[in-house]
């Protein structure tokens, strides 16, 4: 029972810390602007290319495909430092989603063709899963891919596609035949976004910003070599990916940073009548409610990592990472908004406007967009169904 860091671990931590310190500057942070800066696309790619150059772009990949070969402790240290430094996570679609599917289930050709450009960030990927009629019930998707000689002809509509407006490629679940169970007959297809017949339509979210999209496919021709694994077996590959995705969703490092910022903000926040908000006992309780849960979740994640390292798969404790992680981050958003008080409603119109208005504006945008965290990636209701069945045997 220990989490001691070895001397090597500490040296590694210092290296990571120095790297972020040197390379992730405030201009970059500003340009990324919570995913909505003016130069978001260029900036995130530039940052990822730095990581790529350093060899740190894919800590979770096996070393043979370009991974770091880090121990679990090193991975944990890297993530912690990333959160502390306020460095955004890499875009997940290529590196955490389709990449692992390709190196696990893809052909040698697919690996050679796609993995290097994922690592180098020369391909921007997006995820084509949800459909208007297939949300929580993903397996009822209807986007069809008809086999026609050397190509599939794809028709249908994907929705809630994050950052599709920037994407070069999309990985899709499509229906290639009608199986007895709806999970059968689904295939995993990689589609070039520049193919004729692909249209991206923006969806503006309640924060007033554009990160989601609909992606329409009208007779899009996709070469058969873009099929992952066997036709009609796509659900299997997607499920493997979902399990992987779930352990990525605790976002402990990011929540820890939000918590630090929250305490810092509150300690500077005038609470009216000459008092400081951080001294309010009820506020302290609300903050510590979240902090306690987060402290526990950090160890829940470590336990899951240790379990993967030891047994090759996460234990039951990992099932709650997505639910708790997203609930905690929403609570932190709420507290940030509480600190912002009147300014939480503000939408700044000019660059020059009062700082507090901008801070409030950021808090609100994160709060509002953050509502989606309990909906996407398998809604928290679906996650509870999964735990009830798979863990509790109900």
């Amino acid at each position: 029972m220990d989490t001691n860091f070895s001397k090597d671990d500490i040296a590694f931590r210092d290296e990571v810390r120095k790297f972020f310190d040197d390379e992730f500057d405030s201009t970059l942070a500003k340009n990324l602007g919570d995913g909505h800066g003016d130069n978001y696309k260029e900036s995130i790619i530039a940052w990822q290319k730095k990581l790529y150059k350093k060899g740190w772009i894919a800590p979770n990949w096996p070393k043979e495909f370009g991974g770091t070969g880090w121990t679990d402790t090193q991975k944990f240290i890297y993530e912690s430092e990333r959160g502390l430094a306020g460095v955004p996570d890499v875009l997940p679609f290529g590196l955490k989603m389709v990449g692992p599917v390709i190196y696990t289930f893809g052909t040698q050709g697919q690996k050679e063709r796609f993995l290097p450009k994922i690592l180098s960030s020369d391909h921007w990927w997006c995820q084509g899963y949800s459909e208007p009629g297939a949300g929580s019930d993903l397996a009822s998707l209807t986007t069809s891919a008809e086999y026609a000689g050397a190509n599939y002809l794809v028709n249908g509509r994907k929705i809630w596609t994050s950052l599709a407006q920037y994407a070069d490629w999309i990985f899709c679940l499509v229906r290639t035949s009608k199986g007895a169970r709806k999970q059968e007959g689904i295939s995993f297809l990689l589609i070039d976004m520049s193919s004729p017949g692909v249209t991206v339509k923006p969806i503006i979210t309640i924060d007033g910003r554009h990160s989601l999209n609909e992606v329409l496919f009208e007779n899009v021709s996709v070469p058969v070599e873009n099929l992952i694994g066997e036709q009609d077996k796509g659900w299997t590959y997607a499920k493997a990916l979902l399990a992987h995705e779930r352990t990525n969703m605790a976002e402990v490092a990011d929540s820890k940073r939000m918590l630090t910022e929250l305490k810092d903000k509150a300690s500077k926040s005038i609470g009216g009548g000459g008092r400081c908000l951080a001294d309010d006992q009820v506020f302290q309780k609300q903050v510590s409610d979240v902090e306690l849960d987060l402290m526990a979740l950090e160890y829940t994640e470590l336990r899951a990592l240790a379990s993967i390292a030891e047994k090759g798969m996460p234990g039951p404790e990992s099932s709650l990472l997505k639910i708790k992680g997203t609930e905690i981050s929403q609570q932190l958003h709420e507290l940030h908004l509480k600190v912002a008080a009147h300014h939480g409603g503000a939408i700044a119109l000019t660059e020059e406007q009062y700082d507090e208005i901008k801070v409030g504006s950021d808090a609100r945008n994160r709060y509002l967009y953050g509502r989606a965290a309990t909906i996407y990636g398998g809604s928290n209701e679906v996650q509870r169904n999964v735990i009830a069945k798979a863990v509790l045997g109900l």
Partner: protein
Amino acid sequence: MNFDFSEEQTMIMDGISRYVREEYDFDVRRTIKDSNDGYSKEVWRRFSELGWLSIPFDEVYDGFGGKTDDLASVMIELGKGAIIEPYVASIVVFGTLLNESNNESLKKEIIPKIIHGNYIGSFAYIEEQSRFEITDIKTSAIKCDGGYTLRGQKLAVIDADKSDGFIVSTRTDNSQFSADGISLFLVDSESQGVSLSNYKTMDVHSASVITFEDTFVSDENLICALGNGYAHIKSVMPQILLALCSEALGIMETLNKLTVEYSKTRTQFGSPIGSFQALQHRMVDNFMAYEQAKSMVYRGLCEANNYLSGSINLDEFTRVAHAVKALVAKSSKQIGDESIQIHGGIGMTDELNIGHLVKRLMMINVEFGDGDFHQKCFGQN
């Protein structure tokens, strides 16, 4: 014991309800929100014609002579439309503060203009350091010949950019945190030394930071007795809070209705999602949160009448108003969150009305103190 709105109240409510349904749906609202003015002068004129701008004003100034429950009944229905027009800022807040003032000549001049839709006002009281403490005031008003010179900054003044005048809370005596020595002035928005920095708010209203640099305001524009501003604010605050909470009530009713309806039509796993027991129980909890909020608002309105009849005093009425605002904040948060969650992805879109109603609830929560603030005020007494 009677928990019905009166016949007259019901008639007005039906009128607003019909108006919102037939003339102010979400497409109309979207057009208005994207317009240059940020609200519709046409709609405002209609409100005036229909008499809705006259509700809280005394009959002697051509007002409707409405009491707290009259205003509340109007707000319930306006809430359902998530009206962008400056009704809260100008009629509920500015209007009530002015109507209860003892400055007869100002009232005679301004109130008829408001009622006819020719004057919009707002209340400038928040400062950088004040958070929810209304008495925490640095903005100074220094006596000068024939009036006062104002200096200071007010934040988050709702709908100020649409306003012809502001009621401004200033310090004419005592130190920053004192409840005494606060004076209220009506300041014309065109006065010298007044400058606004405007921004949008998430409920598609607007707000401003207003800076007063040696702004002259005449003695005639004093709203209530010198140094007595806080007593004045305090005396109208329960009515304002109840009006805001009534608006929230209308919104919550709408959100619950839309969510239950959606759950009956949205199908996943071969069944309407409303057939899943876990969601059913949560929608029942939302129903209870709404009914409890409704009971609490009604309690506030009954106590408003008890206050008018003299059977409770202002402190007792104020305590109930704190309770109402605190409970409504909780129900609002729960119903707001759950409405988006149960709608799922579609609930996250700007296109659907759900998010807009939720954002208005969020704005109501912070106006004049959030739920925690009011619960603390309530719990300490």
